[in-house]
């Protein structure tokens, strides 16, 4: 007999989006039984690694305006962002910043005691609200701690969710494994919010936490929801070697330079106005061009890179405003940025795509919402601006939490629970994976898969590479890797790692197929063979649906309200 737990609202994922949603729902009604379920302990989610800032318009009196934030974001998105959604983000943000502040967020302050902001790539005003360079960490802490106020929020720490159950129209529940005991459970609930974050670990060189795998995306995808715009993967200009740990954009926001082998501040060739603070896709491409044309450095590991120079900022600025950067480069690289430039290289950093939702974060299935990086409500289009993602998590955390809570309170009748799906899922997990057999090492497979993604679908892409990549991924998937050596029930991470790998294959395939289909260069998707943006044929979103044979590609229109596409220059 399968263990079963019943709740009102289920939130999968305890990053910024998940926690914000939980608080909002709890505020709507203290009667709702809310469960936040996460494969990590709740306060360990990837969001703690976000460093640089959260964008919001706080100081119209100093010259900032909502309009400007909207336009910067639209332009950053290379006009693929849905403009109504972007407006929503920008309007909601200021109050979110104040709300966090009221809940205890240690925002860095100006001398007058008001909240501080710093410049960030792609913005025409200094509007990245910051708390040193640990913004995500402090936001997570503030939200996690605020959750402790509510007795109707229950945390399920280290529960691995495996599937979403619905009857074709409405949400019914999920299945999950409690890692500490290894027991399989079903959760029945009236509404679900998927906030499982980004999937950047499908690339081997990545800023993400090791746990940022696409399980959540895959769950939704397998359950019939579309994944949208997955071909847009953001490469951040400055990942350190060899680990890929991020050096935040704030390092350049505070005045850091990028230099090539000739000691040249090469960004002046590519973005004469904004230099290092052009949007990320532009800077990453510039860096790869420099490296490809032989003006890179060689890192000790043999990888080619460029250098980020902060030495001219002085010790005070570095220690006062970028302490974590100094700590990271000292610890993981052995370099003190006060005295030495840091080796950096573009690194997989964000997925613009995700589960297809509307402006309210609702998916195609009734009773299911998605928020945060896992969702794609098209606020970022083809390229996200730095500091806009934590914003997105907060705003749509709040919106979906509120919507889901209200939906539950409306008291729609619950569809009968499709028990047969539970049996199918159990079979997939236990017969398919847990008791599978083979001799291939899943960790080697994971390395191979992520290396393929790194080499075939990196900053610059070509038809050949992408097609080749897709072929390799599919071949690799055929291999009999589905087996788990560790046979213990308790805390079996070998098992969850294999589950994660399983999801990576399907999502990698979606990324590659989307990239092949998009024969243009837009935002983060740069095709060498189609170097220009093609608004005539490709000003639309890509949707990919799961099918047992081959994924099905569709398109979806872009919402344009005020700003017609123009050429994008920094």
């Amino acid at each position: 007999m399968v263990n079963s737990i019943e709740l009102d609202l289920l939130i999968v994922g305890s990053g910024l989006a998940g926690l914000r949603a939980a608080i909002q729902a709890a505020k709507v009604s203290s009667k709702l039984k809310i469960g936040v379920i996460s494969k990590l302990q709740v306060m360990r989610s990837h969001s703690v690694s976000a460093e640089g800032g959260t964008a919001a318009v706080l100081y119209p009196e100093d010259g900032d305006s909502l309009e400007s934030h909207v336009y910067d974001t639209v332009k950053g998105s290379d006009f693929l962002g849905d403009q109504d959604v972007i407006e929503r983000l920008v309007q909601e943000m200021p109050s979110e910043i104040y709300q966090l502040e009221h809940w205890g967020m240690p925002w860095s302050r100006r001398e007058d005691g008001r909240i501080g902001q710093r410049p960030f790539g792609g913005y025409s005003f200094s509007r990245a609200t910051y708390a040193q360079d640990k913004v995500g960490f402090y936001e997570m802490q503030t939200l996690y701690d605020t959750c402790q106020k509510f007795d109707n929020i229950e945390f399920y720490n280290e529960w691995f969710v495996t599937s979403v159950i619905h009857d074709g129209q409405s949400f019914c529940g999920i299945t999950a494994i409690e890692l500490s005991s290894g027991n399989f459970y079903t959760f029945k609930a009236k509404a679900l919010i998927i906030a499982t974050g980004g999937a950047g670990r499908v690339y081997s060189f990545s800023t993400y936490s090791l746990s940022s795998t696409p399980d959540g995306l895959d769950m939704a995808y397998r359950a019939g929801m579309a994944l949208k715009d997955m071909e847009f993967v953001q490469f951040h200009p400055t990942g350190i070697l060899p680990s890929g740990i991020l050096i935040t954009e704030a390092a350049r926001g505070e005045g850091g330079y990028l230099i090539n082998k000739d000691g040249e501040r090469f960004m002046k060739k590519y973005a004469p106005n904004k230099l290092e603070l052009a949007s990320r896709d532009v800077v990453s491409r510039a860096m790869m061009t420099e490296i490809n044309e032989g003006r890179g450095f060689k890192n000790e590991t043999g990888v080619e890179c460029l250098k980020l120079d902060l030495t001219h900022l002085g010790k005070e600025v570095i220690i006062g405003k970028l302490p974590a950067i100094r700590e990271i480069s000292l610890k993981f690289n052995g370099v003190d940025p006060v005295t030495e430039p840091i080796d950096v290289r573009p690194v997989c950093h964000y997925m613009m795509g995700g589960i297809h939702t509307n402006i309210d974060g609702a998916t195609e299935i009734q009773g299911i919402w998605a928020a945060g990086e896992a969702a794609c409500n098209s606020v970022h289009g083809a390229n996200r601006l730095g500091a806009n993602s934590t914003s997105e998590c907060l705003v749509w955390g709040k919106i979906t939490g509120e919507q889901a809570a209200k939906y539950i309170l409306e008291g729609k009748s619950q569809p009968p629970f499709p028990m047969h799906l539970i049996a199918t899922e159990e079979k997939r997990i236990y017969d398919g994976i847990f008791r599978g057999s083979g001799s291939v090492n899943p960790y080697e497979v994971r390395q191979e898969l992520t290396d393929i993604m790194n080499s075939k679908a990196y900053v610059y892409r070509t038809e050949n590479n992408l097609v080749e990549g897709l072929k390799q991924v599919r071949q690799l998937h055929q291999k009999t890797w589905k087996h788990v050596d560790d046979k213990a029930k308790e805390y079996n991470t070998n098992f969850s790692n294999v589950m994660e790998l399983d999801s990576m294959f399907r999502v990698a395939e979606v990324i590659l197929m989307g990239a092949i289909a998009r024969k243009e260069s837009r935002g983060a998707h740069a095709r060498v063979d189609y170097p220009d943006r093609d608004d005539k044929n490709f000003l639309h979103h890509t949707l990919v649906y799961y099918d047992t044979k081959e994924p099905v590609l569709k398109t979806h229109p872009v919402t344009i309200t005020k700003y017609q596409p123009v050429e994008r220059k920094y």
Partner: protein, 144 residues
Amino acid sequence: MAERLSNREGIKGMANPTRYGIERVAYWLQRLTGLGLLAYLIGHIFETSTIVHGKVAWDKMLEFTQTPQGHIILTLVIGMCVFHTANGIRVMLGHGGIGVGKPGQPEYPYKAASLNYKQRLCIWVSIGLAALAMMYGASVLFGD
């Protein structure tokens, strides 16, 4: 059984002062000397109670204490008392938040401000004072 599962260090954690620096040693010494002094206090009260039985009983007791062993114990008590007192004053002030450093933005590599040199110095001074007192005490006791 439950305790074993909880993986608590148990009494070893309290009793082993060799890790985590001098502050942990001071913690351990404070405990040990406190207990030692309590034992002595109890003994001392029984010791002095002999006086109610007159001079003979008292002198017999004195004889008993004025052996080399008795002197060693007394020397130890002096040391314990001095250390416990001196360190106790440090601990008390610390517990009141005095001399434990000021909050500020820590810099990597993080050094805890509460484990500052003043605290360390006080601990060493307490140990030093105790040693001096013991030497002096021993010289008086064995000097007779």
